[in-house]
């Protein structure tokens, strides 16, 4: 078994404040996980704002350098040291961003991004070959070149734009996509088409996806494995079904309890147990703790008794 991506004990601290009151915040603390090359999977990072999930994604894309620890992609450090290495890395690890309405320059036609991707990463020169590559990728996401060519972003819906963005990312045939909250800004009626698409990419095209979200329900729906992050720390990690059906860490349990269910629509059940909130809040700043493995395969952070 070869590893596709290996995140090894990665931390990232940001310096805040001025010269006199210099504070450091740990955005990510000692995160470790790895993805295997043979079995494509959807690996989900769950967290609220300030959990460090986006920082972690940026580090995997090579947009930030870890303060300590290392991230390797196929055995080489992510990002690439030289320009050639960097291009090779970008061809293999592609991002999908959060806001489809911001994903393309509103003043420019969408197809130019796809065209540029095909020309740079596939090395295509011939016009028909470029168009064929664009059309293939667009067909994969349920669009076609005829629908997209010459269109401006405002002429398409959020769902179509997000699909076009995913098609763009798929052109170099990357083994790994990093999708940072890809559906949080997409309309409800179009959201599932994107989520189903990510699933199809894994099942039919063998693409691994790192899916970053705050939404437990879609995470449960599509992911194989997941990690739950609280204030930069992984608090629980394991098989998605196992963890979400029966979360063990108090913070994971609070998150699950906070999901608004539609099962009892109209009953107006909204109260959250305040003890749960208090416990989870206390653990956010509790010192250290370490991930301990459980018989069912999950890892849970446990803390020294205070």
């Amino acid at each position: 078994m070869t590893t596709l991506l290996n995140v090894d004990n990665v931390s990232k601290t940001f310096a805040m404040g001025g010269l006199l009151s210099r504070k450091t915040t740990a955005a990510v603390q000692n995160a470790s996980f790895s993805l295997a090359a043979e079995t494509p999977e959807i690996f989900t990072i769950i967290g609220e704002s300030g959990s460090g999930k986006t920082t972690l994604a940026r580090m995997i894309l090579g947009l930030e350098t870890p303060t300590t620890g290392s991230i390797t992609f196929r055995g080489k450090p992510v990002g690439g040291a030289t320009k050639v290495e960097r291009m090779a890395f970008m061809a293999a690890v592609q991002p999908v961003f959060q806001n489809p309405f911001e994903a393309f320059n509103p003043l420019k036609q969408i197809d130019r991004y796809l065209e540029s991707t095909a020309r740079t990463f596939l090395g295509l020169k011939d016009r028909t070959a470029v168009e064929r590559a664009m059309d293939e990728a667009l067909q994969t996401v349920g669009l076609s070149l005829a629908e997209v060519k010459g269109r401006y972003p405002h002429e398409m819906s959020g769902g179509q734009l997000q699909r076009a963005a995913i098609a763009r990312a798929l052109i170099p045939n990357p083994p790994l996509l990093i999708a940072d909250e890809p559906v949080s800004m997409v309309d409800a009626s179009l959201r599932m088409s994107i989520v189903n698409l990510l699933k199809a990419l894994r099942d039919d095209f063998g693409v691994s996806v790192i899916y970053i979200t705050h939404d437990l329900a879609t995470a449960y729906y599509i992911s194989n494995r997941l990690i739950i992050m609280q204030r930069g720390r992984i608090v629980e990690m394991g098989d998605a079904r196992t963890v979400l059906e029966n979360p063990e860490h108090p913070y994971s349990r609070l998150l699950k309890a906070s999901v608004l269910s539609t099962e009892d629509a109209g009953d107006g059940k909204l109260a959250t147990n305040p003890d749960m909130v208090a416990l989870a809040t206390r653990l956010a700043t509790a010192p250290g703790g370490q991930l301990v493995s459980r018989p069912d395969g999950r890892l849970v952070r446990v803390y020294e008794p205070v």
Partner: protein, 347 residues
């Protein structure tokens, strides 16, 4: 009896049409953001309005809030409030009339708390700016009133001396709820008040809005695109699609016995923990309000569409008590999720 019925409704919207009419360098555009909406909101209820981006829901509540700015104007219809101070039609009211009801009778909770709270003014000063005049109180009496109100929202009196940036996102949103409710208004418009919040805080804020509403007996129009929020908040839900109200009914029925294919789809597409069956996705794109489809505006995306849907606009008809839908084939709409199945999974 008729008189009673009348008193039951605090807001009556009739045949409301409100358009954006613009002209830029020879390009004339008319966006029919609100196109013939008729609905009522009762006293002491939470009415949820759901709709996607550019469905016209934001424009609709702009009319309800009497916050129209050219080029957006009311073309036809009326928006009548029946306040304790007397009836007001905000589609046709003077600035002075609207000034008289604002905050005292009609108030809003907005999405971004920072747009309401002045970043360089202490919270207490903001309360004075907003509420001192409508309440007609000053100094000590005013402060006591505000502090006792904040207590109900589980906010300490200290927040009055804080600046907005010193508070967390959830606290700030609670402060804006406090601002909107301190005058005990009869009607509150909440526009995506929890969209920017994390899930844990979102649930707290929602239950707070509900508690305050129940304590005061006000009516709330709650706008969000998130159906799971409506499931837990609203007494009745109205669905807006392409500038029109396509279905409204009691929350439970909307979720478990929807009578419009769009509603059925919205409900069915919500994924749930404990259920990995394939969720349906609705194809196509939301229509442009500048050039909406003919007939039923949902027909290009509708799995049930027949030829009639392409030409004739379906009227909003009552199909069950309190339940209205605008669909020619409402009898054929099947709920895609049954309450029993859902509970079975949970058990």
């Amino acid at each position: 009896m008729a008189q009673d019925n009348k008193r039951r409704d605090i807001l009556t919207v009739e045949g409301l049409k409100a358009y954006y009419q613009m002209s830029y360098f020879g390009v004339d555009r008319e966006v029919r953001a609100v196109d013939d909406i008729t609905m009522t909101v009762r006293r002491n209820e939470i009415y949820g309005i759901a709709g996607e981006s550019s469905s016209g829901k934001t424009s609709f509540i702009k009319v309800l809030a009497a916050a129209l700015r050219p080029p957006f104007r009311v073309v036809a219809g009326s928006v009548k409030y029946d306040f304790s101070s007397g009836p007001v039609d905000v589609a046709d009211a003077t600035d002075a009339q609207i000034e008289a009801i604002r905050w005292r009778h009609l108030s809003y909770i907005m999405q971004g708390s920072m747009s309401v709270l002045n970043p360089v003014r202490r919270i207490g000063r903001t309360f004075e700016d907003f509420a001192a005049r409508p309440l007609g109180l000053r100094g000590k009496a005013f402060e006591e009133r505000v502090v006792s109100h904040l207590e109900k929202l589980k906010l300490p009196a200290d927040v009055l001396r804080a600046y907005p940036h010193e508070l967390s996102g959830g606290m700030r949103q609670r402060v804006t709820i406090g601002l909107a409710t301190v005058c005990r208004p009869e009607f509150i418009i909440a526009d995506e008040p929890t969209t920017a919040l994390d899930v844990v805080v979102q649930k707290e804020v929602l239950s707070l809005i509900r508690d305050v509403q129940q304590e005061m007996g006000s009516s709330v129009v709650f706008v969000t695109h998130d159906m799971s929020v409506h499931a837990n908040m609203a007494d009745r839900v109205g669905i807006i699609y392409a500038g029109r109200l396509v279905e409204e009914g009691p929350t439970r029925q909307m979720f478990f016995a929807p009578k419009h294919p769009y509603t059925a789809h919205l409900v069915a597409s919500l994924p749930r923990i404990g259920d990995t069956t394939q969720r349906p996705a609705l194809e196509g794109r939301p229509p442009s309000l500048a050039a909406p489809p003919s007939g039923c505006r949902f027909h290009p995306r509708c799995p049930l569409a027949i030829d009639k849907c392409k030409t004739d606009v379906p009227p909003l008809q009552t199909v069950a008590p309190d339940h209205r839908t605008a669909c020619w084939r409402w009898q054929d709409v099947q709920p895609l999720v049954s309450p029993h199945a859902a509970h079975g999974v949970m058990a």
